[in-house]
Symmetry: C2
Subunit: 186 residues, 2 copies
């Protein structure tokens, strides 16, 4: 069941909590009056502060030119309620359809970028292009997260993680080993 999460701002150095576990994300973008969404699984946190995230957006994707020309995107975190939309978005092209319309998603205004937020997602990370030096060679973009929002509850979202071959892993139970950590490692 889809729901509209109530969200609050999150310090941008805290996005690792949601991205480091490796979920599939939805990247929204906007350029020249056109919005688009792509499904993305190749991303990594790169730094806490500034809050950097690196990701591969292939030149073969319709979103490539939109994010490259605008220098912006929003990384949205879907939960299992959006699994079919995630698959549909990954198996269609924004050159042919409006993905917000097609998959029943709502484009909300972001605060720091022109790219839209996807309302039905659990979290949104508004990004500005920080480094394009590996874009030509690897289609690898380094983004700075300039605003982060996440749902107030549940504390940990049920995310989906892609393994290839049309198969996803769904996030399972949470376990704490906090007492085994050095204070400076927390």
């Amino acid at each position: 069941m889809r729901r509209n999460f109530r969200k609050q701002d999150l310090p941008v150095d805290r996005v690792r909590r949601y991205l480091e576990p490796g979920p599939i994300v939805l990247v929204s973008s906007s350029w020249n009056g056109q919005n688009n969404i792509m499904t993305m699984g190749w991303h990594t946190v790169m730094e806490f502060s500034p809050s950097l995230v690196g990701c591969v957006i292939s030149a073969g994707n319709h979103s490539f030119e939109l994010v490259r020309r605008s220098g912006e995107c929003v990384i949205n975190l879907p939960t299992t309620a959006l699994t079919d939309a995630v698959v549909g978005i990954g198996n269609s092209s924004g050159a042919a359809i409006d993905k917000f319309d097609q998959f029943g998603l709502t484009a909300d205004g972001a605060e720091k970028v022109k790219a839209p937020l996807i309302r039905e997602c659990y979290a949104h990370f508004e990004c500005r292009l920080a480094d394009d030096s590996l874009v030509e060679k690897y289609n690898f973009f380094v983004w700075e997260v300039v605003r982060a929002q996440a749902a107030v509850s549940p504390k940990y979202p049920q995310t989906i993680h892609y393994t290839g071959d049309g198969v996803f892993m769904v996030s399972g139970k949470m376990i704490s080993r906090r007492r085994q950590f050095l204070p400076e490692m927390l």
Copy 2:
């Protein structure tokens, strides 16, 4: 319970199956007669062929000089059986201890690199440094996987995914949406 997995070689363009879901991995390295292991959560697949993986290995880690000087490492995939070792490795320094000894892990010989494999892990990806152009600025290494091995069973390992604050997500159920994929997307 720890086990010794029976492993087989895997085509190197198939490592996304294990890395794209975003598990914590153990990076083993060797330089000048010294072995080390570090816990790493900041990594991403970058290309199928050549098989490229990007990751952040902070200059503050003892492993940084070992991987930089040798230009090699092994990315090992631990399962929940190794959770306490993963935490211990992430909360200690190879400058002070031998992590193989300390955490009861076995260093096996790799085929293509001098860095050791960690026998108790589910999979091993032997890596050679492919691009160091972002090492200075972001401590971001681009590796080429030159040999991959994975356990024959279970088909999907129970992996651990870090969220910060000493809390891990354990991989949950697998779901297939294969019939909703375009043939060229599989």
